[in-house]
């Protein structure tokens, strides 16, 4: 790729090659499913916590939509992998491996505009795409690999959805 990563304008991920993988150490499909499902729930709860923090009506509505969107991801995940155990356990780790309270405290330092929210959402989805792609290479079974490949594909869709919302915000400026 000419110009290397410096010239690349798309989303980039951070962290070492095993960043965020600690929660998936067992290699067991059900553990992987439960953790992925819990991370979707963690992100949903993050959006709800952010929704409670912002005053702007539009920002509140956007965060509410993003939370509903995560609920949809959970349902889709259950439908795709009906043998997985789905419990709404609260986990500190979000999709992509970030710590929920750290992200929330970072968000508190922001102004909470639509752009802030969407950029954070895009960053989290990019990290999740990165983590699931790396995990798919290390999966201990075909079932786990299929799960991670599915999740990576889903993250690209989520990323497209949030990018579209971001484009709309930029165009409205």
């Amino acid at each position: 790729m000419s110009g290397g990563i410096i010239a690349f304008n798309g989303g980039k991920a951070v962290g070492s090659e095993d960043f965020g993988m600690g929660d998936f150490v067992s290699g067991d499909f059900d553990d992987a499913f439960q953790m992925s499902y819990a991370m979707e729930e963690g992100l949903r709860q993050l959006y709800l916590a952010m929704e409670a923090q912002v005053d702007d009506t539009e920002a509140k509505a956007l965060l509410g939509r993003l939370a509903v969107f995560e609920e949809g991801h959970k349902e889709k995940l259950k439908a795709m992998f009906p043998t997985g155990t789905a419990t709404d356990t609260v986990v500190e780790t979000l999709e992509g491996g970030f710590d929920r309270s750290q992200v929330l405290s970072y968000f508190q330092s922001q102004t909470g505009t639509l752009s802030d929210i969407l950029q954070l959402g895009m960053m989290l989805e990019t990290q999740a795409l990165d983590l699931y792609t790396r995990l798919s290479r290390k999966a201990g079974s075909d079932e786990s690999r299929q799960l991670f490949e599915y999740l990576a594909k889903e993250e690209t869709q989520h990323l497209k959805f949030i990018s579209k919302e971001f484009d709309a915000v930029l165009e409205a400026r």
Binding site: M1, S2, G3, G4, I5, A7, F8, N9, G10, G11, K12, A13, V14, G15, S16, E17, F19, T126, Q127, L129, D130, Y132, T133, R134, S136, R137, E149, A152, K153, E155, T156, K160
Partner: protein, 73 residues
């Protein structure tokens, strides 16, 4: 043109083309290969990139799938 790469199938493509390819394909359909140092990878990398520093390529080349399009940076 670099004469050393004249007889290899590699091509130099722009970041915009890579970005477009990534948007039009599923993550498992291609490979992103990061040949920089681990610390550089840690700081930032393309999502899902495989870290294979230049000095390790000879020993770890089998980790790559020769059937998939591979983008190197």
């Amino acid at each position: 043109m670099n004469w050393k790469t004249l007889f290899t199938p590699g091509a130099n493509i722009s970041p915009a083309e890579v970005s477009r390819f990534m948007a039009e394909h599923q993550p498992g359909d291609y490979q992103l290969l990061d040949v920089r140092q681990p610390k550089e990878y840690e700081k930032e990398h393309l999502p899902g990139a495989l870290l294979l520093p230049l000095k390790e390529i000879n020993e770890r080349i089998t980790e790559l799938d020769p059937a998939k399009p591979t983008f190197v940076y």
